[in-house]
Amino acid sequence: MMQNPAEQTAPPTEDKRWKVVDAALRRLGHRPQALIEAMHAIQRTFGYLEPASLRYLAEALVVPLAKVYGVATFYHHFTLSPPAPHSCVVCLGTVCHIKGGPSILAALEAAHDVTLGGRTHDGALSVVVARCIGACSLAPAVVVDGKTLGPTTPDAVLERVRPFFETKSEEPPHDA
């Protein structure tokens, strides 16, 4: 049986982390339906989907690049730009909405000159809105660098993110 030519496509860089992505592709037999799973693998590994990775997926799965781009931009979960060193997810599900979530978002926007879904002017923090993280008993809830806080207040959240702006210049913080 002939080998699928797609399987011989080489990753865009020498980076060893591509092995994780390739393992996901192999597991799903390099079929087009592996596209979303592969994107998850890339985003988990590299933090975002850079243009070169989309081109790689198009070749490796034999899917038009336009479709790859369409899928990547359709789903809110995928991002095409590198993540800021710190993230703050403000939940605006129904319960958080009626319990004060919007005031937390407004406080962050006012204090750090950040637009929704964007980063602060110095790039240290990205602020994202979630439509319910399912932690309604903690409403209003905020997720800062993967840790859920709640019930919280605008002041508490501002206090929590304050260090991100002070230490920023010395060392780029850990997790992405």
Binding site: F78, R131, G134
Partner: protein, 555 residues
């Protein structure tokens, strides 16, 4: 594993468990975890070890205990010894620093500040079927599930019943889809079983997207084997050998636990090739959503599993005939599958004896909003809203007046105080302009503005519209703009008329359920809270939520 082997193994584990005089079960579901239940579990285990009690007291992490608002929660079970009768104590708000006190309490009396009063309606009024083992077993240990009778219904069905028998039992139970629409489950299974073409697929919709709904997450995090067993039984009944669980990307813990559960079940031959030592095979894979609400719609979900954008397509053909990869596909929600094993174990007639004439069994609800006992409850169909909100839910904290309960998320509606005595079943909720939905129940008090709530949901639908059909793509934007004008005090009476007309149009001409039901929150608030809309036209927000600046907001 044959039925005998399974029974023997379950018996063996139960005996081992019974060897402990006491057990401390610490909730390890997402909400309690955020409140520090992991540290608590370690502290308790440390304290037990320090006192040399590891032989008699067991400490384990379990699934959701339900009363999320008062976490971290611990159940203390005293089986014998100390002259105390077998009893369960539920402890709330337990922190790591309470560990020594909790272990002291094993002698029979716990700090009253920590103990939930016995007979609390929140627990006493529940009838748990789908969530019966949530909070009792360690979701990471298949042995716990087996000891509780997990996979017994599946293996026994494989040996003792034909697929037709299984279909009959599910028919008899009267079970209806718990994802919200309430389609008879037996009928759906039958359609798939009759459809020509193989392979067939079984898909579990775990893309719980309604904001304010977290009951499926609770079940998946607490008892993943239950859902897998339900899927396997369905697969046997409809003749499928492959299955997918489509989980929201946000549910990391649920995803991990599911993957682990699948591995464990495959290792014991309860999933995978030759299930229970029979020729039946069933392979399950997990697929992650990627943050698109519309993927809760079945045709969009299928598109997403196939690696495409999650855009719905017109039905028919229904997935039962042409679904995943164009093959007959059964799609049910998490809770629907979780109800299947008990139906087989105890009989469809038993299940049908619970609930109302047309809505059988129980329903799991996520209670949230302005309510004391935020958490997950399971009650018989037909329980009134008043019982759920005020008895189980404990009413509204701070003495504020009840205004409405919102069911069904962005596809549902708000039900006012006048209908609090309505029984919760599919038909009654629909007649009140809402829907059963997947089970989110959000309580609102006098400080909540209903127009603002309607605007919130419309904003949600606008953001989540997939853009395929015009009525939904454009209609939700325009509806949101109209609502924005109303909440900013810039609207005229004509805007209200236009709002109603546009709702009618979006409802009747959209392609899928998202667009068709997007106007529901507006229509139901117009119907029950028309006064609030009119007050806004006069420049007044009765709840004091809206800015009413007279200018339209930018966003």
């Amino acid at each position: 594993m044959t039925p005998e082997e399974l029974r023997a193994r379950a018996e063996e584990i139960r005996e081992k468990e019974a060897g402990y005089a006491e057990s401390l079960r610490v909730c390890s579901a997402a909400s309690c975890r955020s409140l520090g239940s992991d540290e608590l579990r370690k502290a308790l285990a440390g304290e037990i070890a320090r006192r040399g009690l590891t032989q008699r007291c067991q400490v384990k992490g379990v699934g959701c205990l339900g009363l999320c608002a008062q976490g971290p929660l611990v159940t203390a079970e005293l089986r014998r010894g100390y002259g105390v009768e077998e009893r369960e104590h539920v402890l709330r708000g337990v922190r790591a620093e309470h560990a020594a006190g909790v272990v002291d309490g094993l002698s029979g009396s716990f700090d009253p500040a920590l103990e939930v009063p016995p007979g609390l309606p929140f627990f006493r009024r529940q009838v748990r079927i789908a969530s019966e083992h949530c909070g009792k077993l360690d979701p990471d240990e298949i042995d716990d599930a087996l000891a509780a009778g997990g996979y017994e219904a599946l293996v026994r069905a494989l040996y003792d019943r034909t697929p037709a028998d299984v279909l009959l039992e599910v028919d008899r139970s009267g079970l209806r889809g718990r994802g919200g629409a309430g389609y008879p489950t037996g009928l759906k299974w039958r359609t798939v079983a009759k459809s020509a073409g193989t392979p067939r697929y079984v898909v579990c919709n775990a893309d719980e997207g309604d904001p304010g709904a977290f009951m499926d997450r609770s079940v998946l995090e607490s008892d993943p084997h239950r859902v897998l067993e339900g899927m396997a039984i369905a697969a046997y009944a409809v003749g499928a050998s492959e299955g997918y669980v489509y989980v929201r990307a946000e549910y990391l813990l649920a995803e991990q636990r599911l993957r682990k559960a699948i591995q464990q079940a495959e290792r014991l031959g309860l999933l995978g090739k030759s299930v229970g030592g029979t020729p039946f095979e069933f392979h399950v894979q997990v697929r992650l959503g990627a943050g698109a609400y519309v993927c809760g719609e079945e045709t969009a979900l299928i598109a997403s599993i196939e690696g495409n954008r999650g855009q719905p397509r017109p039905r028919p053909p229904y997935p039962a005939e042409s679904g995943l990869f164009g093959r007959p596909t059964l799609i049910n929600n998490v809770e629907t599958f979780a109800n299947v094993p008990p139906i087989l174990r105890r009989g469809g007639a038993w299940f049908a004896s619970i609930g109302t004439e047309k809505s059988k069994g129980t329903k799991v609800f996520a209670l949230a909003g302005k309510i004391a006992n935020t958490g997950v409850v399971e009650v018989p169909m037909g329980t009134t809203l008043r019982e759920i909100v005020f008895e189980l839910g404990g009413g509204i904290p701070g003495g504020a007046a009840f205004k409405a309960v919102q069911t069904g998320g962005p596809s549902g509606g708000c039900i006012p105080a006048a209908h609090l005595d309505a029984p919760v079943d599919y038909e009654t909720l629909a007649s009140l302009g809402s829907i059963m939905g997947s089970g989110g129940m959000i309580v609102m008090d006098e400080h909540t503005c209903m127009v603002d709530v309607a605007k919130f949901f419309m904003g949600f639908c606008r953001d989540e519209s997939c853009g395929k059909c015009v009525p939904c793509r454009v209609g939700t934007v325009e509806l949101h703009r109209l609502l924005d004008r109303i909440t900013s005090g810039a609207a005229t009476p004509e805007d209200l008329t236009l709002l109603e007309e546009l709702c009618d149009l979006v409802r009747h001409t959209s392609l899928c359920g998202l667009g068709q039901s997007a106007p529901n929150p507006v229509l139901s608030t117009l119907r029950h809270f028309g006064d609030e809309y009119r007050a806004h036209l006069e420049g007044r927000c009765p709840a004091g939520v809206c800015a009413m600046s007279g200018e339209e907001a930018v966003r």
